[in-house]
Each structure stands twice: as structure tokens, then as C-alpha cells.
């Protein structure tokens, strides 16, 4: 067979020797041909599939994939705008921005292997909790392209360390950031508040916020966040698959810096108020009010309700909330025990502190008495050492006067000037003896003067205080809540009326409420809304004043309906209190070259810590007497008599306001 096949038609023979196997009979059998055809068909089918798929991807869906590929490398970066500064009424900066570096972590760029080691290293390096970091990454599982701000404000050395080891920390980037800076340290700390990363609630409420955005968390920063925050810019950055930038930032939207917020605060007066408060506390301690340890002072323009200064002691440095926050330093804000030990520095006592007003309340009672015609200003009432009335049970109840030696007939002005308690006990009993259909006029007027409700000041939080009424007693002292004493406690007794008239017992007010009421006395009966926000501004053209884009329009002053003539009697009484020889704060203010009118208060408040009633030292007043520009209301916690702690503190503020240096002050203990 081999021979037969070995014909001249086989040129291979010349090329290769004839091997027996080469000559092996082999034909393309139909069976093999069929199989080869199948092989060919498989090839064609396979290539048809490949071509179709290639066609579908490149030609039919090409544009979509091109888009996807472009988005792959374009990372949208939000450029945080600088937050607007906060300035005082004269443009003195209270909060500014300082440049800093923050460390960001892009979860999408973390390596799959060695991820834990990287995070561990990062957490040690930046002193952040590994657990927190892992939780943040897990929380962002669905959103791998929003960076986690691992740390704001890192030290220069850390910046260098990370920059030099970029390849060892894939997914970690360093970004420039703005940090809040407080050039005046603790000045107005309680007002300004602080910023922090948006919380879940804030993110929910404001869809324009993104995780990691900084927003105001308290005070002005929170209240006027919309002005201050600005609009983030949007930029695109071309990056490779490891997130390494391959281009510079391509801005698609310029960041809009936050607006400047101008406050009504006068930095100079604020400084004076804070110093005055500390001076008041020191003075109180010198005068044997050993427990004096805090207080509040409000200085406000009675005509407009603009707050010029608002101080609260103890205070804090707002910078503890900035950048590398130290948990230790934040303890007074986060830990109840530490807060109590430091006497609650976070508390803004001007708006949140609740105190019995004591004698600074007497003008309220006096105005209500005249308005309700249970009292006439010239009527003489005997001021005595004590006041006794026979109860329905036939027992004599005795209420003492702070002055145990007095026995003289007084009209309203003298009673206010000397702060006669028994005069107001008598007034209180006249209220008490009114027929029930007259309601509770004393409280009704107090309400018109703004007590028992929030003032609406734009500094939060604020307390409403407590204005006790017979109804309040009935509703509060229920059988369910007070199973033993409710039957007695739910009744409004003469004692309640008597104590209310001198601002004691259940009555609680905030210093800002009191300042607002004294503004009403000063401005002729109008109830203003206290506020600290003046305007939001953007920088004007170079060398010009900032342009106001939003001017604060506080709610218009409300006329309380009090008779100006009645008000005049009270005003004169308050002037006598600071000038009449035996006026309660005449020792402090009589020597003052500008006529100041005001009232002291010494309010007893139960201290669970000391286990005794401690005197809260008050002074509220205004000046100049003829055209009042400034109301000052000072309170020294546990500061003893109003005349020896609060009044001298208030005087310091008037001194700064009117530019008057020093002067003789006589500290006599009065009510």
C-alpha cells in the first residue's frame, strides 16, 4: 500500500525520506471530514459569539461604557468653603478660621489585604480609636467614595510622616482644612458655640449636607449656620485605580465662603462683663459669701433688645472643641460628674440659669398692684420688722423683713428704694384677698412682662422659668405624684402670695428675663426681644465696608399695656434705690457720675450641696436715668447680698460703657 501511494505526486519524498509510517494508509474518511466540519462549525460559532459581543459592547453600548470609564477616574471632590467669621458689633473678630490639615480615608481605596494592619497603624499614628475607624468604614459600606475624616487638625510632623509614606497608606489622603480659631480666647464662649461633624439628625434634616461636613453644633454657630457655612465647591480630580491624583483639581463649582456674622455684642463690653462677673464673685467671697462660685451678667440696649454683653461663669475655652479634641478637656461637657465638680461650665446661666429673683421682682409686684388698683403710689404703708397675719386655721403666721430694725411709713418709691419686704407682703395680701373672679392678676402682669416664658433670644438653649399660679399648684401637686402632701400642697395659700411679691418660693426666672423686664421699665413699657444677631455680611469691594446681605429684624417690641405714669413711679423708686441715702445700692451707684437706677435682690435658694438656703445676689438696673441706653442685670450665684456682689459687678459694666474709671464704692449689706 505504501508503494502504491508513493507516487511522483508526493513531492515530500524529495524533502524527507520515506518513512514506513508516513506511507501509512491514511485517507480523509467521510467520518473524519464530518468531524473536521464540526470543528470548523465550532470555530465559526465561537467567533460569531465573540464578534457579536464585541459589537454589542463597543458599538451599541460604547458611549455608556465610555461614560463609565470617564467616571471611573473622575472623583468628585467637595471643597469645603471657609466658614464665615463671627465679629462683634464693631467688626472685632470673635471667631476666625485658621488653616490646618486633616487626614481623610477613602474606604474604596483601602487594600484588600493588610487592611487591618493599615488601619491599626493609622490609628496608632493619629491616636484615634481603631474600633471607631472600623465602625466608620462599615457604616460607609454603601458609599465608598465619601472620605472619612479620620482626624482634623493634625500636627505638622504627622503631615510630613504621612506625605512621605503615601504608598504605605493607600486610601489615606491629607487635605487642607479650616479650623475655628478664637482670637479672644474665652470671650463670649457661651454665645458662640462650636462646630463639629454633622450628626445623623442634621444630615437627615438638611439634604445638602454630606457626611463629614462641619456644621454649627451650639450657640451662634448652630443658630446661624446657614449664613456661616457657605456652599462647598465641587471639583473633579482624575485619579488612578489606587486613588492617586493624576491631575490637578478641575473646579466645576467655586466654593462659596460662608458669610460673616455680625453680632450685637460689643467685645469691649463683653470683656468687661466677664471681668465684672469674676470681680463680683471675688467681692462676694471677700464679704463672706463663701459659696459664691458662678453667675451671669446681661448688658442690653433697652430700646432695641440688642445684647451688648452676656457673660456666664464659670466659662470655658471654645477651642477645646476644635480639631484634635482631647476627650479629657471635653469631660466638663460630656460627663455629668465632672461637669458638676466644675460647676457646669457649659451652662449659659444668662439664659438657662433658673433663680428666685428676690427683691428685683418688687417692681413687677408694684406695677401689677398699681395696674390692678390694689395699690396707689402715694399711699403710706408701715414698714415693720415683721408681718403677721391670722390664717384661716386661727394660727398667726409671721413673715420677717430683711431689715429687723425698721419701723416707718413708706410710699412706693421709698419702699422700692429701701426694698421694704413688709410693704410688699401687704400688697401681696391685697392681691390674695381679691375675689376669685379677678383671677391671678399679679401673675397675669408678670406674664405680660415676659416671665414664665422664653424671651425668644437667639441664643439657645433657653429656659422659660416658673411663674407659680393657683392653677399651677393644682396641676402640679397631684395625688399621683405627691401621695402624702398633695392635699395641702395643691392649695394656693396666703404664704404663696406673700412670697411671690418678694420674688421667693416657687418663682424662678432667668437673668435674661430679668434684663428684659428692666428694659421694659427703662423704655417706657415695651417688651423687646433680646437678640445677639445683627447681620450677615459679605466682603465689599476692596477697601470698603462689608455689604449686609441679611439684616436681623427682631420681632417688634410689644407694648405691655402698663400705664406710663405707674412706670414713672417705679423708675423714681429705682433711682432712689441707687441714690437715696438708704437706698439699697446707693453705696455703689450714688457716686457714679451718670444717673443709674436699679434694684438689688437677695434671693434665698436652697442648696442641696450645702444643705442650707444660700443668698443669690442680684442687681438689675439701667442708665442714664433720663434716656436709658443700657440695662445691666447681674447675678452672683450664692453671692450673698445684692448690694455687695451683683451691684459692684454691674457698676463695672457701666464704667466701661460710659468710659468712667474707678470711683468710690461703699459696700453695705442691704437687701
Amino acid at each position: 500500500m505504501a508503494r502504491r501511494r508513493g507516487s511522483a505526486r508526493l513531492p515530500s519524498r524529495r524533502f524527507l525520506p520515506n518513512d514506513p509510517r508516513v506511507a501509512e494508509p491514511y485517507r480523509l474518511t467521510p467520518q473524519l471530514a464530518f468531524r473536521i466540519a464540526i470543528l470548523g462549525a465550532v470555530v465559526l460559532a465561537a467567533f460569531a459569539v465573540l464578534f457579536l459581543r464585541l459589537w454589542a459592547l463597543q458599538i451599541l453600548s460604547g458611549p455608556q461604557y465610555l461614560n463609565a470609564a470617564q467616571n471611573n477616574q473622575l472623583r468628585v471632590v467637595r471643597l469645603q468653603p471657609p466658614r464665615g467669621p463671627i465679629v462683634d458689633r464693631n467688626g472685632v473678630p470673635l471667631v476666625e478660621n485658621a488653616a490646618g490639615h486633616s487626614v481623610q480615608l477613602w474606604p474604596a481605596d483601602l487594600p484588600k489585604e493588610g487592611r487591618y494592619q493599615l488601619l491599626k497603624r493609622l490609628s496608632t499614628l493619629l491616636n484615634v480609636e481603631l474600633k471607631w475607624l472600623v465602625e466608620e468604614i462599615e457604616a460607609r459600606n454603601g458609599d465608598p467614595l465619601t472620605p472619612i475624616v479620620v482626624k482634623r487638625s493634625i500636627h505638622r510632623d504627622q503631615v510630613n510622616f504621612l506625605s512621605e509614606r503615601k504608598s504605605e497608606f493607600p486610601g489615606v489622603t491629607i487635605a487642607r482644612t479650616y479650623l475655628r480659631a478664637y482670637p479672644r480666647k474665652s470671650l463670649a464662649a457661651h454665645l458662640l458655640g462650636h462646630v463639629g461633624e454633622a450628626t445623623d439628625v442634621q444630615l437627615e434634616a438638611n439634604p445638602s449636607l454630606r457626611l463629614g461636613d462641619e456644621v454649627g453644633q451650639a450657640g451662634i454657630e448652630a443658630r446661624y449656620d446657614d449664613f456661616l457655612r457657605g456652599t462647598p465647591g465641587i471639583a473633579q480630580l482624575r485619579v488612578d485605580s489606587l486613588g492617586r491624583p493624576r491631575s490637578s483639581l478641575l473646579l466645576t463649582q467655586q466654593p462659596q465662603p460662608g458669610q460673616q456674622v455680625r453680632l450685637t455684642i460689643d467685645a469691649r463690653l463683653q470683656q468687661a462683663a466677664q471681668q465684672a462677673l469674676r470681680f463680683g464673685i471675688e467681692t462676694a467671697i471677700e464679704n463672706e459669701a463663701w459659696y459664691a462660685n458662678g453667675g451671669a451678667l446681661v448688658a442690653m440696649d433697652p430700646r432695641t433688645g440688642e445684647i451688648l454683653a452676656m457673660a456666664s461663669e464659670p466659662s470655658f475655652q471654645p477651642s477645646v472643641f476644635v480639631g484634635r479634641t482631647d476627650p479629657e478637656k471635653l469631660l466638663p461637657f460630656t460627663d455629668d460628674e465632672v461637669a458638676a465638680a466644675r460647676n457646669f461650665p457649659a451652662l449659659n446661666r444668662a439664659t438657662q440659669g433658673l433663680y428666685p429673683p428676690g427683691s428685683v421682682w418688687k417692681p413687677v409686684a408694684a406695677l401689677a398692684g398699681m395696674e390692678e388698683k390694689v395699690l396707689t403710689p402715694y399711699e403710706l404703708i408701715q414698714c415693720t420688722a415683721k408681718y403677721v397675719f391670722k390664717g384661716e386655721d386661727g394660727v398667726d403666721y409671721e413673715f420677717g423683713n430683711w431689715d429687723r430694725t425698721v419701723n416707718e411709713a413708706m410710699d412706693l418709691k421709698i419702699a422700692l428704694a429701701k426694698s421694704c419686704d413688709t410693704y410688699f407682703y401687704e400688697l401681696a395680701m391685697r392681691f390674695h384677698d381679691l375675689p376669685p373672679e379677678r383671677g391671678s392678676p399679679h401673675q397675669a402682669w408678670a406674664k405680660k412682662f415676659g416671665f414664665g416664658a422664653k424671651t425668644g433670644i437667639d441664643v439657645s438653649p433657653e429656659e422659660a422659668g416658673l411663674l407659680p399660679t393657683p392653677q399651677w399648684r393644682r396641676e402640679t401637686f397631684t395625688k399621683a405624684r405627691y401621695p402624702k402632701t398633695w392635699e395641702l400642697e395643691r392649695l394656693w395659700k396666703p404664704g404663696d402670695s406673700i412670697q411671690l411679691a418678694i420674688g421667693q418660693k416657687d418663682l424662678l426666672v432667668t437673668p435674661i428675663q430679668m434684663a428684659r423686664f428692666y428694659s421694659l421699665i427703662a423704655n417706657g413699657g415695651k417688651l423687646v426681644t433680646p437678640h445677639v444677631f445683627r447681620s450677615a455680611e459679605v466682603p465689599g469691594p476692596a477697601g470698603t465696608q462689608p455689604q449686609v446681605v441679611h439684616a436681623n429684624v427682631p420681632p417688634p417690641a410689644v407694648d405691655s399695656g402698663v400705664d406710663p405714669a405707674h412706670l414713672e413711679h417705679v423708675r423714681q423708686g429705682l433711682l432712689q434705690a441707687t441714690h437715696y441715702p438708704h437706698g439699697t445700692s446707693a453705696g455703689v451707684f450714688d457716686s457714679f457720675p451718670i444717673a443709674i437706677a436699679g434694684k438689688t435682690g437677695t434671693a434665698e435658694k436652697w442648696s442641696t450641696k450645702v444643705g442650707d438656703h444660700l443668698d443669690q445676689s442680684w442687681w438689675c438696673g439701667f442708665g442714664p436715668y433720663d434716656s436709658p441706653e443700657l440695662v445691666v442685670c447681674a447675678l452672683i450665684e450664692n453671692g450673698g447680698h445684692g448690694s455687695v456682689a451683683a451691684a459692684p459687678a454691674a457698676r463695672k459694666v457701666f464704667e466701661t460703657y460710659f468710659g468712667i474709671e474707678g470711683g468710690q464704692v461703699d459696700l453695705t449689706e442691704t437687701d
Binding site: 508516513v22 473536521i36 464585541l54 470609564a69 471611573n72
Partner: protein, 393 residues
């Protein structure tokens, strides 16, 4: 046939002889040669663009290496022309034993690279025996079946061939190199098919293969025996569910599809091919080279490449039909199916229609072993053509 074989050692020894070069040149399959030349050239051009930005200081790093490999492969191609395929058949046993030995050596000595032991370091480059093994394996199985061509219809022959084939396949599989093991399996199937194994037997083997796959993927893991590595299972799972785990197992294929699609009709060019350039596309010079090519050169380039492959396969199939003996036919058929399988799986995986396995794209993927082996295989194919019965001049 065994008798014939026994009687011819003296003549067989002269299988390599002084060739008539002119005759050789005349009898080459020039279309196939052109396709191979075109593929190598196209491949170098493609790699030049694809790896332009891979080595920072040396944009030609990979293309130079690849050109050196292509030159080495060309030497192998030329050498293969002068070897009568009958020689491979005669030495099929030493070849088989040698193949097995090499693979054992790989597993025993080779360093672990990217989790698998595939390479033997030989200085300039890393030898990947499983690539060369494809050809040797083909010779061994083809030789065995050719020797038994008269008993090809018997079960015994089939079983033995499968048993012979599974040993090196298994060794590749445990390296682990699932992709290459699949190529071995495909080559075995093709050789059985072309050698004329009965349809019934093929069907039974096919059914067994399906059962084995089911066992690997489902039954054994369910029973707690993990044969596949977790990443292998994940890749196969990713093939069936492309939406799941975008950062993990499906990342590669999604980036690859994006790259292919982004290429459009004309491609994005070397500098504009961001998927490749910025490393979104992993392994873009090796496993995913087709995606990079498609991104840079578009439908025109990628389709052109596929046409070149189609030309190559067509000529290959033609050589199967021209082969002068069953062994040559089986080897040619094995080579054709081997290339078809690698092309389809590699190109298919970059477009999401085949699971991801580490199979190189012949002539294009960066890699010396693959380039040299592919050119050697083409040399063998041409050698078969040279010695074809010459029914058609």
C-alpha cells in the same frame, strides 16, 4: 502497526535530514504564515501601547522583552519545520514522562508567584512548563491514540488515553492553574475527537466531565471538601452574578467590560485609554490584554485581531484535513482546538461571557513561555503541512 514500527528504527533515526530549503519554502502554508506573522506583529504593536505607562522610566520595557521572546519563538518555529512530526510520535513515551517530571519539578521547586506555583526561574525569564507542556501533552496523547488507531473504537483505548491525559492535567490543576488545566482538558477532548473516538464514548466522557465539574463546584464543597481555591469559586460565582461584590470578585470583569466598551469603534488611543493607563484594568498586559487592546484600538483593532485568529484557525483546520497520517491530524486538531479554546475563553472573559481564568491570549499576552510555545505549535502545524499528502499542491 506495532510490527511496522518495530521494523523501522533505522529509518526513523533519519527523520531529521538535510532539508531542501526551496521545497520547504514552496510548501509552507503562506496564509497561515502570514496570519502568524500578522499576529506577532500586531501583538508587539498592541503591547507597545498597552504597557506604555506600566514601567515609569522605560516605556518599551515589555515590548522589548516580548520581541526577544518572539525572536526566540521564531527560532523554535523554524526548527520545528525540520522535525518530522513522526519523531514526536516515536518518542511519545519519553516526552510524556518528561512532561510529568517537569510538572512535578515545578510543584516541588518553583517559587510561589501570586499564590500559585507555575514558574521555574531560569534567570532572564521564568519558565512556565505548563505552557510547553501543552504541546508535549498533545504529542503524547496523539501518539498513543495514533498507535491504537485501529482499536480507537474500544473502551480500553479511550480509558487509557483519558487516564494518560488526566495525570498532567491534574498536576497543572494542583499548581493551581485552573485555566491551563482546562486547556489541557480541551486539548485531550479535541485529540479524542479528531482521532475518531466513537460518539457514544465521547458522550459518556462529556457526561462525566459535567459530573466532575458539578462535583468540584457544588457537591464536594457542600460535603466540606474544598477542591477549588476560594478565589476560583468566587470568580466562577462572579461570572454568574456580575452585580454582586463590585469591589471584589466582579471588579475585574466589570472594569474589563468597561474598558472594552469604552474603546468604541476606533479606540481611545494609548494616552486616552484611562482604564489601562490608570490601572483600573488589572493584569492588562497578560490575562486582560484583549480588553486593553479593545480600549486602545477599538472595534477596528480588536475585530482585526479576531479576523487574524479566524484566518489562523481556518488554515489549521485545513491542515487537519490534509494531514498525512492520523497522528499528524490529531496533533493539528489538538493545536487548532487549543488555540480556539484559549482565544474564546480569554477574549470571552474580558467581555463577560466566559469565567475569569488565567489563560493567556496567544501571541498577544505578555509572557515568554506562551509566546514561544504558540510559535512552536505553529511550527509543528507548518511541519505537518509541509509533509501533507499534497492532494492540493
Amino acid at each position: 502497526m506495532a510490527m511496522v514500527e518495530a521494523s523501522s528504527p533505522a529509518q526513523g533515526a533519519r527523520a531529521v535530514e538535510r532539508p531542501d530549503v526551496l521545497e520547504l519554502v514552496r510548501r509552507l502554508d503562506w496564509l497561515l504564515f502570514g496570519a502568524v506573522l500578522g499576529l506577532v506583529g500586531f501583538g508587539l504593536w498592541a503591547i507597545a501601547g498597552i504597557t506604555r505607562h506600566d514601567v515609569a522610566d522605560d516605556p518599551d520595557h515589555f515590548v522589548v522583552r516580548q520581541a526577544i521572546f518572539a525572536a526566540a519563538g521564531a527560532v523554535g518555529f523554524a526548527a520545528a519545520l525540520f522535525v518530522d512530526p513522526a519523531l514526536y510520535r516515536r518518542f511519545r513515551k519519553p516526552i510524556y514522562v518528561g512532561t510529568i517530571g517537569l510538572m512535578v519539578l515545578v510543584i516541588a521547586t518553583a517559587g510561589v508567584t501570586r499564590g500559585s506555583r507555575r514558574w521555574i526561574d531560569v534567570g532572564f525569564f521564568q519558565l512556565q512548563p505548563s505552557e510547553f507542556g501543552k504541546l508535549l501533552f498533545l504529542f503524547a496523547i496523539g501518539g498513543f491514540l495514533a498507535d491504537r488507531s485501529r482499536r480507537i473504537g474500544e473502551w480500553g483505548t479511550v480509558w487509557r488515553a483519558v487516564a494518560l491525559g488526566l495525570a498532567p492535567t491534574g498536576l497543572v490543576f494542583v499548581q493551581p492553574d485552573l485555566g491551563t488545566a482546562l486547556v489541557y482538558g480541551a486539548v485531550l477532548a479535541a485529540v479524542l475527537f479528531v482521532s475518531g473516538v466513537r460518539w457514544l464514548h465521547l458522550a459518556v466522557l462529556g457526561a462525566l466531565a459535567v459530573l466532575a465539574a458539578a462535583a468540584l463546584l457544588w457537591a464536594l464543597p457542600a460535603a466540606g471538601v474544598e477542591v477549588l481555591k476560594p478565589y476560583q469559586t468566587a470568580r466562577i460565582a462572579a461570572f454568574t452574578d456580575r452585580e454582586g461584590d463590585p469591589a471584589g470578585a466582579t471588579y475585574n470583569v466589570n472594569q474589563s467590560i468597561t474598558a472594552v466598551g469604552a474603546g468604541g469603534l476606533r479606540g481611545r488611543g494609548v494616552d486616552g485609554s484611562t482604564q489601562t493607563r490608570f490601572d483600573y484594568l488589572p493584569e492588562h498586559a497578560t490575562d486582560f490584554v484583549f480588553a486593553s487592546l479593545a480600549e486602545q484600538r477599538g472595534f477596528v483593532g480588536a475585530g482585526g485581531l479576531l479576523l487574524l485568529y479566524l484566518l489562523l484557525l481556518w488554515r489549521g483546520i485545513r491542515i487537519v484535513s490534509l494531514a498525512r497520517d492520523p497522528f499528524s491530524a490529531a496533533v493539528a486538531g489538538g493545536i487548532v482546538f487549543w488555540f480556539l479554546f484559549q482565544i474564546f475563553v480569554n477574549v470571552g472573559m474580558t467581555m463577560g461571557i466566559a469565567p475569569i481564568t488565567g489563560i493567556p491570549l496567544p501571541f498577544i499576552s505578555v509572557g515568554g513561555s506562551s509566546m514561544v510555545t504558540s510559535l512552536l505549535a505553529m511550527g509543528v502545524l507548518q511541519a505537518i503541512h509541509l509533509r501533507a499528502a499534497g492532494r492540493r499542491g
